[in-house]
């Protein structure tokens, strides 16, 4: 019986158009400074920037350094600067950029490993620092007899912040991050709020203490850029202000 064949990315249909893809190239071990390489790639209305980059990697230059995995905006691998703004490559369609030239660069405020791939150690460390887990009596946590009850309304209080995929786009957009290498950053602060707002958690005070530092929560000036670039609707700016509300005594 005939099987219907696969969908191959290389299909070029009459509807496909061309753009120039400019990829920033830099290997800190060997290069003095970064430069751009230009490729002409065809795209369909659904083609994402990640697909275009991988197309280049497959057919033009195998050495493009780029991080990717899920290709569906859930793993947080593919953050980069696309036409000047931090975005997920797999969640940005070329057609929605309305431009004949698509420029991709590594995310700002992260050290470059190579080309488009950047180091995340700092983000992981700060994330760990804000104690991103439920804090309450150990025996309660380790017993698995009964669930902790939690109403849908209580879930609503934190679920938004739990959507964070640790892509780092917010940290790349934040103006404080642009100059302050010790700032906790919106990603971790939003996660601090995620756990503080969880009705099952009792670790509020210890978390507040951690972020009450000269490079802690106070270095956020509500610029909001973090929320504007977040691909998952996390709205770190909101979480941070709500968290600060606790510290200023507006909320308890």
């Amino acid at each position: 019986m005939a099987q219907v064949s696969s969908i191959s990315n290389e299909q070029t249909s009459p509807t496909s158009k061309l753009i120039t893809l400019r990829i920033s190239r830099f290997n800190p071990e060997h290069d003095e400074s970064s430069g751009f390489m230009e490729f002409s790639v065809s795209y369909e209305k659904w083609t994402t920037v990640l697909e275009a980059i991988l197309d280049v990697k497959k057919h033009h230059d195998h050495s493009v350094g780029v991080r990717y995995s899920c290709r569906q905006a859930t793993c947080g691998s593919c953050g980069m600067i696309i036409n000047g703004k931090p975005r997920l490559a797999c969640f940005t369609k070329i057609s929605e950029l309305n431009s004949d030239v698509v420029t991709v660069e590594p995310m700002n405020n992260f050290p470059i490993i190579r080309d488009l791939a950047v180091k995340f150690e700092k983000l992981f460390d700060t994330h760990q620092k804000i104690k991103p887990y439920l804090i309450r009596d150990d025996t309660e946590i380790e017993s698995n007899e009964k669930e902790f009850l939690q109403s849908p309304e209580e879930v609503e209080q934190y679920i938004q912040f739990a959507n964070c995929i640790k892509c780092g786009l917010c940290n790349s957009a934040c103006p404080t991050m642009a100059t302050d290498s010790s700032f906790v950053g919106p990603q971790a602060l939003a996660q601090a709020y995620r756990y503080v707002a969880d009705s099952r958690d009792k670790g509020k005070d210890s978390r507040l203490k951690i972020i009450d530092d000269s490079h802690g929560i106070w270095r956020c000036h509500f610029a909001g850029s973090c929320s504007q670039v977040c691909p998952k609707g996390v709205d770190p700016a909101m979480g941070i202000q709500l968290l600060r509300g606790y510290m200023l005594g507006f909320r308890s």
Partner: protein, 143 residues
């Protein structure tokens, strides 16, 4: 700041484009804060001339009560009004007021914290600053 951290640096921090009016407000807030501080220091120096008696005071007044001096003062008024109004908005925001309520986000995600209340706050800060500046100019040059 070491180069290999690949930070955007002061240019990125101070670039008010790309991210909407909230980032502009952030930038104006900084600028007006610094401007006011500069003026404030100058102002304290200026007023200290009173210790030099009527002559000294008037001498100094003459220096500042010029067209340039008035223009500077007009800008200071604008900065002061913007910084104050926006400062109040920012403080409310920092207290978690008017930044929206946490809720399940639906695609396409529109961050609740970037809402019309705060946008109105920013626009009115700018508007009030402009009006105050006009008024100040009118008062100063009107005479």
């Amino acid at each position: 700041m070491s180069k290999d951290e690949h930070r955007e640096g002061i240019k990125g921090m101070a670039n008010p484009t790309r991210y909407g009016i909230e980032r502009v407000a952030y930038w104006l807030m900084r600028l007006s804060g610094l401007g006011l501080l500069a003026y404030f220091v100058g102002h304290i120096y200026e007023t200290s001339n009173i210790l030099r008696g009527q002559v000294g005071w008037n001498e100094f007044l003459e220096l500042t009560q010029t067209t340039e001096g008035h223009l500077v003062l007009a800008i200071v008024i604008a900065m002061c009004v913007f910084h104050t109004v926006n400062g109040i908005r920012v403080m409310l925001g920092h207290g978690g007021i008017g930044v929206g309520k946490p809720a399940r986000p639906d695609y396409p995600y529109e961050p609740a914290s970037q809402n019309y209340r705060h946008k109105i706050g920013i626009y009115s800060a700018i508007l009030l600053a402009a009006i105050a500046m006009m008024y100040g100019l009118a008062v100063m040059f009107g005479e």
